[in-house]
Symmetry: C2
Subunit: 363 residues, 2 copies
């Protein structure tokens, strides 16, 4: 099938660009002896998770238990859930999962670890545990303080758990903006302080996991990191380009759209709004716009209704109903989560259709 | 089943509040002799569409052809598609649909109308047509000018089409802010100018369709309106409350969430982020926050990650991992589109589970 035969809107993945992105990150991790455990929340597709493993990933990362179940069903056998799982229902599902695959959970409370331990012990299985620390993003994670070590030591002593090490999510410096030297230095010092505190408390940390896409290629500069969990690097998006972490030529994901209305002067309406592209804002610069129209920097995707994209076009531009465009979304992860399927393309050919199998797995 | 037995996050619809919302709008339309053709993009569920029809709606409105197909499959037999449908594939699906149900399409170009006409004529069927005019929102719609009438007359003369009248979407005055007197007056004058131009060109307009939720209850003040297409009124949300069109007690849709982390001081993390609530902003006031925590005006849902909601809580507040809260989303329509199912509740009882059957029908 040719791209021209697709109805729109349609999500396209350029398999050549995807392949380049996968190779680049794999090579970087190999060069710097970092374990790659990519975050699959970005794509939610076992097909891409398998490609990541083929390119040397040691396992995958997910945010939700439902995503882990989909990936395990597809044969992925080493899964890190970076999420504090709470409640008897989730713990029961977690031990079911642990019977099938190697599973590890990041926790930041004794309460969550104790619940998991109890369920694992009762089921006669073992769940990997990592402790999350807050290096400054202030979302999850114990504070980096000697007083945090008491709970960690209690967790290490719990039955049914396999102590794995520590985990950080430095969203405050890696959150889609150009990485600054002083931020890297400060983060490195913060991590160093954490290592000292862990050492004083005689807490081992075989794994030190961190990193996301915008700062992924600076990971070797963080002292002590053994693993990174980038997600968006497989596709890249307008935000990673804006953060100077990629160029539009490195964006593997685009939405194929059609111009459906040109009634209003200096405007063209495309058939993709916030329910197709997601309303996630641009995270840096002028923060304006909801996507980049490939080959048309002069078009501004100024506003989104739910099903309409409002393109502002320079006066005199020739644009017609039926014209097709490709839009790079601001945020690949939330865009893909709106879709049931993607079309894998090579040049103008549609070579495969993949199901977004873990889409909507919120629990 | 009891609500406490549900795992979270879970989308809840309070059936008593839903019923009150349905009755209120039905009564308003009856009192003012307005046809009610609710926009089902809000809920995407045939169950609620059927309730709307039981409460006197004349038919339903949808944005996308895929939504129309789902509703027709569920037995809804009068559907308005407020969207310019373009392309052979869509026209083929449209005439298939027209063989099963009464279907009408809003157009704002001769090109789209001609495509539909050709397909309808070839299939020996008939498609209803309405002309959309731009009263100031500048999204779709012909300008209100004598020069627009040429195309309208050509459309009326096309075979295979059933001329139905006109349609407006006054998003510029109804877009989630308190309606101002002068805006109503100006819109009324704009509509009046349109009627005069149509009259001069001898174009009949049996249907004059307009309106959305925030201004729905002011619809009788727009001279000449025969029909309204509100969507959000079935649920209401933080935006309609902020626009003073409803109160939180009138919000039928809430996300049941669980506190999963309290490691960071003055913060509680809930298990719902932008992939559960949607990142749609508040459209008026300070534009801050991503939802309202029922019963806790002192909690601020300050930020969303994809799967984490960042609640800021006053110091000294007692909040624990495992606590459950209900969050009213900023925008019901984009929130529900992220979910496969909803739980219908009455008090603490889960009385039904509905599938969001038209979710993700982007084409």
């Amino acid at each position: 099938m040719n791209i021209h035969d697709l109805d729109t809107p349609a999500l396209l993945i350029d398999v050549n660009v995807l392949d380049r992105n996968l190779r680049k990150m794999a090579q970087y991790c190999k060069d710097h002896r970092l374990t790659l455990r990519p975050h699959t929340k970005t794509h939610k597709m076992p097909e891409i998770a398998r490609l990541q493993l083929q390119h040397g990933a040691a396992g995958i990362t997910v945010a939700k238990l439902g995503e882990a179940e989909v990936m395990a069903d597809a044969g992925i056998d080493d899964i890190l859930i970076v999420y504090p799982l709470w409640g008897e229902k989730k713990w029961a599902r977690l031990v079911d999962l642990a019977r099938r695959v190697r599973v590890t959970v990041a926790v930041d409370s004794l309460a969550v670890a104790a619940g998991i331990s109890k369920a694992a012990k009762a089921a006669g299985t073992e769940i990997g545990i990592r402790a999350e620390f807050d290096t400054g993003f202030h979302r999850c994670g114990w504070p980096i303080a000697a007083s945090s070590m008491d709970e960690i030591q209690k967790i290490i002593a719990l039955p049914g758990l396999r102590w794995d090490g520590i985990l950080v999510y430095p969203g405050h410096i890696m959150g889609n903006q150009t990485i600054r030297e002083q931020d890297i230095e400060r983060e490195d010092e913060t991590m160093d302080a954490l290592f000292k505190i862990l050492g004083s408390a005689s807490i081992p940390y075989p794994v030190v996991s961190g990193g996301n896409t915008p700062a992924a290629f600076a990971s070797h500069r963080f002292h002590g990191l053994t693993e990174i969990r980038p997600g968006t690097y497989v596709f890249n998006d307008r935000n990673t380009v804006d953060a100077e972490s990629a160029e539009f030529a490195n964006c593997a994901l685009a939405v194929l759209v059609t111009v459906v209305s040109t009634s209003v002067s200096q405007r063209a309406i495309i058939d993709s709004g916030s329910k197709t592209l997601s309303a996630d804002p641009l995270l840096s610069g002028d923060r304006l716009g909801y996507g980049y129209v490939l080959g048309h920097p002069e078009f501004k995707l100024e506003d989104l209704s739910e099903e309409h994209g409002h393109l502002t076009i320079p006066s005199g531009t020739k644009i017609n109903i039926g014209d097709r465009l490709r839009v790079i979304p601001n945020h690949a992860c939330t865009c893909i989560n709106l879709h049931d399927r993607v079309f894998v393309v090579q040049g103008e050919h549609v070579v495969e259709e993949w199901k977004v199998a873990a889409r909507g797995k919120v629990a």
